[in-house]
């Protein structure tokens, strides 16, 4: 990557995410990523699927600098991830943890949603406006004064997304957003995600959701991208799915 490309100011036309040759070893020596290449266009919604231990979460954590790769580059909206741009990258990437309880740590929903924007210096009415907008977008305004860990699973998930949406990210990364939700909450969440106007990378085992929600699917296994293409094509390829410990539920699978 040449210096000329390394533009620190964001570019609305740039892809939301570009990952090139990303390698990562955990401290105990486990190599979790063996060179990942991935590109998410601005506004695109992409599913990231693969078996347990494939490296999905590891990859997702890299997009917002929570893990730092041994080699390879990450660019978000044209900004290359580096020490100097870490803060900016974290502004631009909203990360929703698999376990909503991991994400919510303050005693009211409003405080929790305000936490991110406040860290970026927003104060007073500007902050309130930002929080209100995020709460409204996820339809959780009525929960503003509740304690996050007293909410139902589905409500928690929506609040968790609100907390990152309040930071106006260019890219939303969600780690298994439908795990543990009842079917109606899952459906509501899917409707919510479909209505959001921001690029999304969705890590999931919920292939029926992928079919409905994501035009494109990236399949990883063993720390490598093994397939990348239209979800319809990819998820109807029974041999590919079987080879990577995936399957569509009985009834959805091709007969």
């Amino acid at each position: 990557m040449t210096a000329a490309e390394d533009d620190a100011s964001p570019d609305p036309q740039a892809p939301a995410l570009e990952v090139a040759d990303l390698r990562f070893d955990y401290p105990d020596g486990t190599t979790a990523l063996h060179g990942i290449d991935l590109r998410v266009a601005a506004g695109e919604r992409v599913a990231l699927v693969g078996p347990n231990g494939a490296g999905k979460t590891t990859l997702a954590l890299h997009t917002n600098g929570l893990l730092r790769a041994a080699s390879g580059t990450i660019r978000v909206a044209g900004v290359t991830l580096a020490d100097a741009t870490l803060r900016e990258i974290r502004d631009r990437v909203g990360f929703v943890f698999q376990d909503a309880e991991d994400q919510l740590f303050l005693s009211t929903v409003r405080d929790d949603v305000a936490f991110g924007p406040a860290n970026h210096g927003l104060r007073g009415t500007e902050l309130d406006a930002r929080v209100d907008a995020a709460l409204a977008a996820l339809e959780v305004t009525h929960l503003a004064d509740r304690a996050p860990h007293h909410l139902s699973g589905g409500e928690q998930r929506r609040v968790a997304i609100a907390t990152v949406l309040a930071m106006r990210p260019d890219l939303l990364v969600l780690d298994e957003p439908t795990a543990g939700l009842d079917p109606a909450s899952r459906r509501e969440l899917m409707t919510t995600l479909a209505g959001l106007d921001v690029a999304q990378l969705i890590v999931t085992h919920d292939l029926p959701m992928v079919l409905e929600l994501c035009p494109r699917t990236v399949l990883v296994d063993g720390g490598r991208v093994v397939a990348d293409g239209p979800s319809d094509l990819l998820l109807r390829d029974a041999d590919l799915l079987t080879a990577h410990r995936l399957e569509l539920p009985y009834g959805l699978a091709p007969r």
């Binding site: 974290r90 740590f105 860290n119």
Partner: protein
């Protein structure tokens, strides 16, 4: 949860020291530190003998000094204090390289530093060769009150739960740009700590429930039989304090 069984101070090895029963090592280490801590600071011979004995024990345990030295950091605050003493104490002065230093301060600093370093090194050797659950079982065999060892056992087990919760929370905060520098930025941290406590507790509750669900009644069941400590083990372990004790006697003879 089991990862608490290996902690950062433990060195995985198969040395004679590693194989000694925990309670034997506890007694040896404690006796050694008592000998060192009670030696008058002018008895340099005692400290030299103790230090050499300890170095030999470290060799036998196959623990590298390069591993131990950085971990002595726990006593650095006290070493800083000890280092300052010669410069600031009043009283008779001696010239060292042209700098007038207070004699009393030199001795005071030396006393604090040498006891702290020897004591901490002995403790580090104990921890480097014994896993924490074994230490707790050793305390139990030395007839520590059961209530205390029980609390300690739960503490060690839950420590990992909490560290896990902390790192998850820290990660969540970092992901949203938290970078505290000032007192007033503490509020989310303290509020977060409260939530953290409750979450750790509730997680602890679930783990405890899981244990009770499988018949746990407060005592860990015997999964592997323990062998009693033989005379050989005691003899080997007590070499450390015994040599230090000889050093102590030598100190009395040399320094009066």
């Amino acid at each position: 949860m089991g990862a608490g069984h290996t902690h950062p101070l433990y060195v995985h090895e198969h040395s004679p020291v590693h194989h000694l029963p925990a309670h034997v090592k506890l007694v040896a280490t404690f006796t050694f530190t008592v000998v060192v801590a009670t030696a008058p600071r002018e008895h340099v011979v005692t400290f030299v003998v103790a230090a050499l004995t300890l170095l030999a024990a470290i060799r036998v345990a196959r623990v590298r000094l390069r591993f131990l030295l950085p971990r002595l950091a726990v006593v650095t605050p006290f070493l800083i204090g000890a280092l300052l003493l010669p410069f600031v104490a009043s009283g008779p002065r001696v010239d060292v390289l042209g700098i007038p230093l207070a004699e009393e301060g030199l001795w005071g600093g030396f006393g604090i530093a040498v006891r702290a370093v020897l004591g901490a090194t002995a403790s580090l050797l104990l921890v480097a060769t014994t896993e924490v659950p074994d230490l707790l079982r050793g305390l139990e065999r030395l007839r520590a009150p059961r209530l205390l060892t029980q609390i300690a056992a739960f503490m060690v087990r839950y420590l990992e739960v909490i560290v896990g919760e902390v790192s998850r929370q820290r990660r969540a905060m970092t992901a949203r740009g938290y970078d505290p520098r000032w007192l007033w930025q503490l509020r989310p941290l303290t509020a977060g700590l409260g939530v953290l406590f409750v979450r750790s507790y509730e997680r602890g509750e679930r783990v405890h429930a899981a244990m009770r669900a499988r018949g746990f009644d407060g005592t860990m069941p015997v999964l592997t039989e323990e062998r009693p400590a033989g005379v050989r083990a005691w003899r080997l372990a007590l070499v450390l304090p015994a040599l230090a004790g000889l050093g102590r006697i030598a100190g009395l003879l040399v320094h009066g």
